[in-house]
């Protein structure tokens, strides 16, 4: 339904590793809408939402990168104190675990967007929608 697809890339902790990924995507004319990096001492996981995940995946595979597509929930958050807390509280109350989250901005003035990676995407979506929260769709992101 409204789930958004995120592409995650395995990046070794090495000088220039990140620029190599970004150069490859740039050369393929892919726009990155949102991103975050999780890092350990050995490796990083670069998570992105792009305007063309299929093409991004093909491009990176050709360059020998390992990547995977995951469904995440992207929701609008009011640009005011406590805006994000509201969402997280709802999920916690319903017993949905948040693995990680990251924010990105849209062209709207009074809205931010947050990507949630949860253990139950479908129920998280239903729950947020029922609470009157606007979910951001793949199309919304592609057409920013």
């Amino acid at each position: 339904m409204m789930a958004v697809e995120q592409i995650s890339v395995f990046v070794q902790n090495e000088k220039g590793a990140l620029s190599h990924v970004l150069d490859a995507l740039g050369a393929a004319n892919i726009e990155i809408r949102a991103l975050s990096i999780a890092d350990t001492s050995d490796f990083g996981i670069l998570r992105m939402i792009t305007d063309n995940n299929k093409k991004a995946q093909e491009t990176l595979k050709k360059e020998n990168y390992i990547c995977t597509l995951t469904d995440v929930v992207a929701a609008a958050v009011d640009d005011r104190p406590g805006g994000l807390a509201n969402h997280v509280n709802l999920l916690a109350a319903a017993g949905i675990d948040v693995e990680y989250l990251y924010a990105f901005v849209t062209r709207s003035d009074n809205e931010a967007c947050v990507v949630f990676r949860v253990n139950d995407t479908e129920n998280a979506q239903k729950l947020l929608e029922k609470a009157g929260i606007r979910l951001v769709s793949q199309k919304d992101i592609e057409n920013f």
């Binding site: 995120q6 995650s8 395995f10 990046v11 070794q12 590793a17 999780a38 350990t40 050995d42 490796f43 996981i45 998570r47 595979k61 020998n64 990168y65 390992i66 990547c67 995977t68 995951t70 693995e99 990680y100 990676r117």
Partner: protein
Amino acid sequence: MEQRYYQKEIETMPYAQMKKLQSERLVRQVRHVWDNVPYYRSLMEKKGVTPDDIHGVEDLHLLPFISKADLRDQYPYGLLATDLKNCVRIQSTSGTTGRRVVAFYTLKDVDLWEECCARAIVAAGGSREDVVQIGYGYGLFTGGAGLHGGSHKVGCLTLPMSSGNTERQIQFMMDLRATILCCTPSYAAYIGEALKDHGYKPSDNHLKAGIFGAEPWTEEMRHDIEAKLGIKAYDIYGLTETSGPGVAFECEEQNGMHVCEDNFIPEIIDPDTGEVLPEGEKGELVFTSITKEAFPLLRYRTRDICVLHRGKCSCGRTLIKMAKPMGRTDDMLIIRGVNVFPSQIETVLLKEGHTPNYQIIVDRVNNTDTLDINVEMTPEAFSDTVKALSAAEQKLAAAIRLMLGITPKVHLVAPKTITRSEGKAVRVIDRRKLHD
């Protein structure tokens, strides 16, 4: 009709007859070496042995050993047993563990070596109908030259690819319908991964068999390669010092390698005392080449740890079998006082569903040995959460600890980043040596 043996008479010779043949050849070889190699003569004199003491294989144990150190000391001509003008070829070891060893061959030496390789190809189901892709390095390394010659002898169409350039390997493999692949097992696994990356299923290629050697590999790795390429994977054994690949080879039983004992007499010894061990006991493998003219080695200590077994084989061959070497006396790492063979770590990795692409890094920090293992990531093992990847690292570390008794640090690394030289994977980096 399917060809079962390359040289039936020799490969199925009753042992009593083989022993007689070996004895004749050994007596002649000892005399040849005594007459032509002053260094051997001095070794024998030191042990108080002369050619008159050697009447047959039962006297083999009287002869002195020769080791890799002797070969290095005598580089380049010290062990040459014939006039240089009778030699037509040299081959050389990779020199990764020290100074190179150079081996010389007469035309007859090359011929007998290629015959051994031809036996291996036929044992793997090869005939003149087959297309043999040689992905071993050509040049000083014996892998390419040996299998190439053997393939010619059998009458196969031979693709002299050498190692590397995987794109071209795949193109020729598919376009020219290669049926038998010869390369190192680590390169075979790598080609298998590359085929998958190209979108080929194991059934898309025409390969039926592979002949893989020149580096240690495990049963788990055999299963992995067989699944990836859709073939039967056969082991082949050899070393530059005795000739090259083909000293021993597997038959359809895939259960130990038949030694070409008409050319090479194997023994198993206790590596510490040098005492010959009875058949079936584990120890260091020793070879005596009884037909080589230019570079004959008597009782060469291979440092491979192995078991010999003479029994009835369903393939009909009577040649004694050697087990897959369990490691090398010089491959063995001593980490925090524990004996560690890279093959043990490989076994764990494959059992845990990882690739056999790994590298072991041993170092010494604050007087304590450290063991780090880099393992290449696979698409199947990848996840978008750190939790899952860290858990995979920890699970591997725990499984290795269970096997070795010491705790390693496991690091997942990007695919195809672990060094491969001449198609041989660099498995161990021991940084402790730098501090000595």
